[in-house]
């Protein structure tokens, strides 16, 4: 975090020298504020989904963002985001239980009771630039934003909620991976935003738009059947960790793909 502060400070200073002709808004070029990215949970559950029905609920990403006008029509943007959502309400995982290779992998079903999907929490760091349309001057007007997002994901689930289907048809409790139900992954995305910002009372910036983001989860989809993790189908992988990573990546991909956003900032200096 300290390094980040230094980077911002350096950027401000250097841009102060390099772009002496940048006006910002009434001379103010730095803003700090809050944004919210949101989308109906169409292709995955929200964190507190109570059923297998995903169409209800809204996924929301909270974001603290800082922007600095570095050129007449360019804002440099740094943001810290947090997202909480759900993954895999009911899911089959295949696991190689015993050592003999000839035995087929054991199918374990994650089926929490009471119903609660695996919990995915991410902290995202975003670095990007807003390019304001020709004719406007940052930070006002329509813009296109390109952004790199780094996702630090934390997946938690109840390890006591997976079952092995026995020959008799009875479910037998079997821990998924013999762990405490806690995984951490990293992933990234490239985001493109079309938006518009306005300034009110010479101090408050209102920002709204639509963001499209392609995360590395797209590669998981390209290697697997699309949209297949919501039913009882199984992965080909026998590595539970890998399977969960794939689930997280796919969830992030779907969640980040299209989002609306609205934000409010304060023009500081």
């Amino acid at each position: 975090m300290k390094n980040l502060k230094c980077a911002v400070l350096l950027l401000c200073l250097s841009s102060g020298y390099s772009f002496a002709q940048v006006s910002g808004y009434l001379g103010k070029r730095f803003s700090i504020g809050y944004s919210n990215y949101f989308m109906a949970a169409g292709f995955g559950p929200v964190a507190n989904a109570e059923s297998n029905e995903f169409l209800t609920g809204i996924n929301s990403t909270h974001c603290v963002n800082m922007e600095y006008t570095i050129a007449k029509r360019i804002n440099f943007c740094l943001s810290l985001q947090t997202l909480k959502t759900g993954v895999n309400p009911t899911k089959n995982y295949q696991k190689q239980i015993s050592s003999p290779d000839y035995l087929p992998p054991l199918t374990l079903t994650y089926s929490p009771k009471p119903y609660l999907p695996m919990q995915l929490r991410t902290i995202n760091i975003g670095l990007g630039c807003k390019f304001f349309h020709f004719g406007t001057l940052a930070p006002i007007g329509k813009y296109n934003k390109l952004e790199f997002l780094l996702f630090l994901s934390h997946l938690t689930y109840d390890p006591n909620n997976s079952f092995q289907s026995s020959a008799s048809g009875q479910s037998v409790y079997t821990p998924l991976n013999g762990d405490a139900g806690d995984y951490q992954f990293k992933s990234f995305a490239l985001a493109y935003t079309v938006g518009r910002s306005r300034v009110f009372w010479d101090k408050i910036v209102l920002d709204y738009g639509l963001r499209l983001a392609i995360s590395n989860g797209i590669f998981t989809y390209m290697g697997n059947a699309l949209w297949d993790d919501t039913g009882n189908s199984s992965y080909g992988s026998t590595d539970i960790t890998k399977a969960m990573r794939q689930d997280v990546n796919k969830r992030i991909f779907r969640e980040q793909l299209v989002n609306f956003h609205i934000g409010i900032s304060f023009l500081a200096f």
Binding site: A20, Q21, S23, L26, R198, D202
Partner: protein, 726 residues
């Protein structure tokens, strides 16, 4: 008693006339508005419109009448405050006296009329239904007598009385919508019907105007002369043969080839095609009133009821004004020719000499630019080039054609030398006049920079001297067999020069080259010690560094803000509707934004505005008029900053008064069609040099939100106030 009174008035008038003429023989000061500003100037357009709308009621044609009221009031208000209208000046006072005579028997109508003279060179007059009548300076300059002015006033008053403007407006809308009783038919037929309707109104104004004139004691037979004035309005106010001796002296002899032996005759076509004209042709106009021209009491009627002397003195004033107006309107040929006519009468008039000098200089710089191919328009948001070129002399009738031909056919170098010689002579006659002195330097600069003529390109000996010397030398050289090849070449060239007229400028400055001041100033310019305006060079420097002009930091600490321009328009089915009320409000907001941004940037400013002026603010009104005139003229020059403005002297006084030479003008044009389109502009002029210091436009497809406009204005002013790096 009565005879005594008449004699006294006549003597006073004669004295006044002589005094005026005595003044005119020396100099002339352009007229200004004086006294208190009339109350009708002080009302806002919105105020006037709202009051008028209340009187319209909800009857037939309510919408059209409302639209018309708003449009007319905004147009009128714009005209009243832009400074072209003269108040309490000799011309307006005289015209009003004529109106008093005309309407002696109708004081009620007289009270409803507001008659003013406006500083426009066109030979025209126009009226508003609200009772405002405007007579152009160009018209007064052409009139033959007072009765003609009275008839023209009567014509305009009829337009007011008959409410012709609103009637025509409503009829035009009906014709456009094809629901007019006047005419129905194809689009083209309805378009022609509009012209026909207008022509009928003009004829009515001619006939009713004549009836009005008959009720006064003005001569009726002079009315035909008023139509002559209109018919030949495209010609100068007098037809005087242009003599080549005007520019010549014993050393500057212009070749005969530069003078037309015969000028084009004045055509007298009064029966031109008026199908697509708002006015009937002159023949029809004469025909329409002809039966009514004969009156029994013509012998008792007079050409002058106010005063012949006053008429002539005011017409002379109008002619002097006209020279400057031509110059402001970039009509340099007419300016020089008009000054030439008046110089025949007042040969030592400083004002007229300056008109000629400025006119010649402006033609000369444009010619030089044409030759050197200097690109006047640039690519980084600069103003478009508007190069002046001399109108085709083939299209000119009468003796002024000779001047057009001369200046058009003179090479740029030749014109430069002729202009320099004329200006320097004037400068020597009026050494204390800064304008002539500055113009001389500028012409030196043109000579060295654009035309590359230096001192050694001019002969110090006159042709006559050289010819005499040549005869003597021929005899001596018979014995000199040792003469070098190069000496022979030079002698042959010199001989050829003497014998032909082609290189006439070589011998044009013989006397001037004996003048130390001339040589010193020329040398100084040639050595580049006197540079042109600083900001022009700065601009050139920045161009080299590929920096956009709009990005230049100027380091200016004080500016003059003038009333911003704001217009919101809406397009519906291809028809444009101006939202005047909103535009007026937004203009006030924009003025506030300018102040806010300037305060934030610690930029000092003075505001030159007619908003909120009181009747005692005549100085403000005149300052604003001067500024508007200067900016209007400067905009005509486009990106050519070398041309000199007509009112350069007055503008210098304004600079001293306001404490800065920089004037900032901004504006927004917002249009709503299928989508919004917003255009913002900002121009910063240097009033002293005429340079455009900053010209910025920004266009977005968005509404004109105030935060967007604020960001634009702040950015513009930031570049004005910030100092460039050393």
């Amino acid at each position: 008693m009565f005879t005594k009174k008449i004699t006294f008035v006549a003597v006073m008038a004669l004295l006044f006339f002589n005094k005026t003429n005595a003044q005119l023989s020396v100099d002339y000061t352009p007229i200004k508005s004086t006294g208190a500003i009339p109350s009708e100037f002080l009302k806002s357009a919105k105020e006037m419109s709202e009051a008028e709308i209340k009187t319209i009621g909800y009857g037939k044609d309510h919408t059209a009448k409302t639209q018309f009221a708003v449009q007319q009031n905004y147009f009128l208000q714009d005209l009243l405050i832009n400074g072209d209208v003269l108040i309490n000046d000799p011309l307006s006072n005289y015209v009003n006296k004529v109106a008093d005579e005309l309407l002696k028997n109708n004081p009620t109508l007289r009270q409803q009329l507001h008659i003013y003279v406006i500083k426009t060179p066109e030979v025209n007059a126009h009226a508003f239904d609200k009772g405002f009548i405007f007579i152009n300076v160009g018209l007064i300059a052409q009139l033959e007598n007072e009765a003609q002015l009275a008839y023209i006033l009567a014509h305009e008053i009829t337009h007011v009385v008959k409410k012709h403007s609103i009637t025509e407006y409503i009829e035009n809308i009906k014709l456009e919508n094809n629901n007019s009783d006047y005419d129905k038919g194809s689009e083209e037929e309805r378009r022609l019907a509009k012209y026909r309707f207008s022509k009928e109104q003009e004829t009515e104004a001619d006939v009713e105007g004549l009836n009005m004139l008959k009720e006064s004691n003005y001569s009726i037979k002079t009315v035909n002369g008023a139509f002559d004035v209109l018919q030949y309005s495209y010609l100068p106010f007098e037809l005087v043969d242009f003599k080549k001796t005007f520019f010549e002296d014993k050393n500057l002899i212009l070749p005969d080839t530069l003078f037309l032996k015969k000028t084009a005759e004045v055509k007298s076509n009064e029966d031109y095609d008026d199908t697509k004209s708002t006015h009937p042709n002159i023949r029809k106009r004469r025909g329409a009133i002809e039966p009514d021209l004969k009156v029994e009491d013509e012998s008792t009627r007079k050409k002058y009821l106010v005063s012949e002397e006053l008429f002539k003195s005011n017409r002379e004033t109008a002619r002097f004004e006209l020279c400057n107006l031509y110059l402001s309107n970039r009509d340099y040929m007419n300016a020089v020719y008009a000054a030439y006519i008046l110089l025949e009468k007042y040969p030592d008039n400083l004002y007229l000499k300056k008109i000629v000098a400025k006119g010649l200089y402006n033609v000369s710089v444009n010619k030089s630019k044409e030759k050197t191919g200097v690109k006047l328009n640039t690519e980084d948001g600069n103003m478009q080039s508007k190069r002046y070129s001399i109108p085709d002399y083939n299209k000119i009738e009468g003796p002024s054609q000779r001047l057009y031909y001369l200046l058009d056919n003179m090479a740029d170098k030749e014109l430069n030398v002729v202009a320099l010689k004329y200006t320097y002579k004037a400068h020597k006659k009026f050494p204390n006049d800064n304008t002539l002195s500055t113009l001389t330097d500028s012409l030196f600069s043109e000579l060295t920079n654009s035309n590359e003529l230096f001192l050694n390109d001019f002969s110090k000996k006159s042709k006559a001297d050289l010819k005499a010397k040549d005869t003597v030398k021929v005899k001596e050289e018979v014995a000199d067999a040792e003469e070098s090849k190069y000496s022979k070449i030079k002698k042959l060239q010199e001989k050829a020069d003497i014998e032909t007229d082609e290189n006439f400028i070589r011998y044009a400055l013989v006397d001037e080259l004996k003048d130390n001041e001339f040589v010193k100033r020329y040398t100084t310019i040639a050595r580049g010690l006197t540079k042109k305006a600083d900001d022009s060079n700065a601009y050139q420097h920045n161009k080299k560094t590929k920096e956009k002009k709009e990005d230049r930091l100027l380091g200016i600490d004080k500016v003059i803000f003038i009333d911003p321009y704001y217009m919101r328009v809406k397009y519906e089915e291809g028809v444009q509707y101006n939202n005047f009320f909103e535009s007026e409000e937004k203009a006030a907001v924009l003025a506030g934004i300018e102040s806010k941004c300037a305060n934030q940037l610690k930029l000092q400013y003075v505001t030159l505005s007619t908003k909120g002026i009181t009747s005692a603010d005549m100085d403000k009104y005149n300052d604003n008029a001067l500024m508007n005139e200067w900016i209007g003229e400067r905009l005509k020059h486009g990106s050519n900053s070398d041309e000199v403005e007509a009112n350069s002297e007055s503008i210098k006084q304004l600079i001293d008064k306001l404490g800065t030479k920089y004037v900032a003008w901004s504006g927004v044009y917002n249009q709503k069609g299928r989508s919004y389109r917003n255009t913002y502009f900002f121009i910063l002029f240097n009033l002293e040099s005429g340079n455009v210091m900053k010209y910025e436009t920004r266009t977005t497809k968005s509404k004109d939100h105030s935060d967007l406009i604020t960001s634009y204005v702040y950015n513009s002013l930031m570049h004005v106030v910030k100092k460039p790096k050393e």
